[in-house]
Amino acid sequence: MVPAPKVRSGQTVGIPSGFPCLLLLAMVLAANVASAAIVERVPRVLILYPLDERTPAPVIVGESARNRLLEVTTGKIDLFSEFLDLTRFSDKIHIDRMARYLAAKYVDYRPDVVIAIAEPAANFIVAHRSTIAPNARIVFSGFGSDTAARMKLPSDVVGAFTEFDIAKTLQMARSLQPSARHLFIVGGSSEFDRSWLALARKELALLVKSYETTYLTDLTIDEFVERVARLPSESIVLFLTVSKDSTGRDLIPRDALERIAATASAPIYGPFSTYVGHGIVGGNTVTFESAGLAVADLTADAIGGKVIANVDVPQTYVADARQLKHWDLSESRLPPGTVQSFKEKTLWEEHQRLIIAILVVLALQGLVIGGLLVERRRRHGAEQEARRRLLEVVHLNQSATAGALSASIAHELNQPLGAIRANAEAAEVMIRGKTPDLKLIQQILCDIRDDDQRAEDIIVRLRGLLKKRSEIDWQEFDLKDVIKSSIQILHAEAGRRNITISFSQPVAQLPVRADQVHVQQVILNLATNAMDAMLDAVSTERRLVFQTTLTEGSEVELSISDTGRGIPSGQLARVFDAFYTTKATGTGLGLSIARTIIETYGGKIWADNRADGGAVFRFVLPLAQRG
């Protein structure tokens, strides 16, 4: 059974005027009784349940009280429970029989405190306290103060009032469904149910004016189910209690609610926390747990000899998160402080700290990674930019070299072209003759082909010097081949200047890994510098010597020595600096670029003066590893 309601507006039904005096008296008496009751043994508490063990509300109150008492006494307490089953066995014979039975049962274990849950249990123990628990304090819960007044309880019987407020429940419904037009109030046929209905009519008198209100009463459980399943839209259902239907059939209100809610066409609200989880959206209630806690605290105080007095169990709004979701009602419209049940804990709620920690770590990692990425991108960009610039400068310098050598290159190219022309014209003249020497003409054609090939080879050799490239073309090649190719390019210019070039080819292969054109660029640069340096030298002593050495088997050194005037002492270290030049037309970039190129490929470059005059430039490059 559920507790009897009480009107909270306090105007129509008030607390009797003598009540404060009674309360005072009760407190004085309680103090006296309690001080006499506690002896030097474990205190005994008997919890009386009005119904059987299936009815949730009193059981929750009792269990809550029981747990609290075990907690505050650290287990040093004897707890007894009795289920009086007073609705099914409500005749006086049964009540007397039960009283005698309990009196006999507890003859050697007279309780120090009896906790009576709800009105029937309270009435029972008040009537039979002298036989069952003659010296015990009686505390109760499960009904309101006006019920207590109506019951005319003895002044030493105090309790935790559970005041239910139907209006607040409806307020909650109204807040959640502001556009609702219809209100259906469901009540059963038992006396208890009718008391709740009467209270609702009274308490909701003002509020129902906002709605088209229908009381669904005097129906069978099946009729309840059917009616609630066919409600108009924008309806609110207020479920009070149905402990009997119109056929007189006993029902547990919660079960009745569950059956009706199963097919309901509108949200249902109710004033009991036990309804939560069985079909109501929510309501205003005192929770049975808190009622239990309140009565347990009174009990503990009584055992401890303290003065006890009536208390009110605080009211709370309760709601069922699943129902809110089901009816698509906004959680934000719930009254403040509403306790939600069945709310699926989000991962966030369940592991908030862990998640925060993880997020912080992730955020920090993200920041670090992001920072590193930005940094990397910047650096990458800068490196690419630098490389691009370098390639541009190298290209410019290559072009400059090509320009400086252009006369020689033209000469070089004109050799085969001139030969081709002469051969072709010779053949032409021969063919016009009386007896053309076909064998010779065939040889001429052969030579023409060879010279054409020669011209092409020259162009190929030069192409690298002229072609603009945006990337380094890494490849493995024999340094020897590049030296030879460079000498071929320089050959004409050297001839023009009466410079003898010598290169004794090494037997060993000199595999290096770099951009071939860049290395050729360095060689040409060093060689043209050397040739320029020999302008003043005696014609017969102009010698440009290329020489390669393997150093410690892992590097190859190329030296280019000249017979020029050498490098002024003290300038050896500076010659590779940018814009250092001794030539009137020099840019001072050639050697600086040469150094950059050689260092790019992991090598070194330096200059010396030779003992017998002239300078020698050397660079080393790492040998490519051959698998």
């Binding site: 033209a410 050799q415 001139g418 022309r421 014209e425 010779a426 003249v429 060879d450 050297a494």
Partner: protein
């Protein structure tokens, strides 16, 4: 026997090709691979010209030009270069080159230059022959007659010459007559001309 074209070029392929062209055009050709080569082998006794590459290892074309002027002054030089620079060509022409061609030059241009060079050779040869005969005439003078010849082409009067040679004016007159007769000239101007041709007097002096 036709004239000989001497080709000096370090590039064998080009040398052969030009040699073929010139031979097909009716010239005799002798090829040399370097300046040293031609200086060793050239006799210079036959008519012809020299085709000279400007850029060669060893003796360069212009250095060779000087040597050849000594060794074979009659052979005109035509330069053939893979790369013509004004500076080079001016220097070559000043030094007496007959022509200055690029290697890429056409058959016509090349043969034309060679024809002109050979004409030049003929001219030089004729001049040289003439000078030789004049030399022979001059050589036929007695020492006393040469002394008088030397003085009359310098514009000295008989009286002066007599004074210089410590002889009489009459004697000078007799020698002068004899000189004019031996040289086969009728006037002083002709005698001066011979002296100039033989380089005995500076025409500008």
């Amino acid at each position: 026997m036709g004239p000989i074209v001497h080709i000096v070029d370090d590039d064998k392929s080009f040398r052969i090709a030009v040699g073929r062209l010139l031979e097909a055009s009716g010239f005799r050709v002798i090829s040399y691979e370097s300046g040293d080569d031609i200086l060793t082998r050239l006799t210079g006794s036959e008519p012809g010209c020299i085709l000279l590459d400007l850029q060669m290892p060893g003796l360069s074309g212009s250095e060779l030009q000087g040597c050849l002027a000594q060794k074979a002054p009659l052979l005109p030089i035509v330069f053939l270069t893979g790369q013509a620079e004004i500076e080079d060509s001016v220097r070559a022409m000043k030094a007496g080159a007959e022509d200055f061609l690029e290697k890429h030059a056409s058959n016509k241009a090349l043969l034309g230059a060679i024809e002109r060079a050979l004409l030049q050779y003929e001219k030089r040869r004729t001049q040289q022959d003439h000078v030789h005969s004049l030399h022979a005439l001059v050589a036929a003078l007695t020492p006393r007659e040469y002394q008088v010849f030397d003085r009359i082409v310098r514009g000295k009067r008989n009286k002066q010459i007599a004074y210089d040679l410590s002889t009489s004016e009459r004697t000078v007159k007799a020698h002068r007559h004899s000189v004019m007769e031996k040289l086969g000239v009728g006037s002083l101007a002709e005698a001066v001309s011979i002296a100039e041709r033989l380089g005995l007097v500076d025409p500008a002096a």
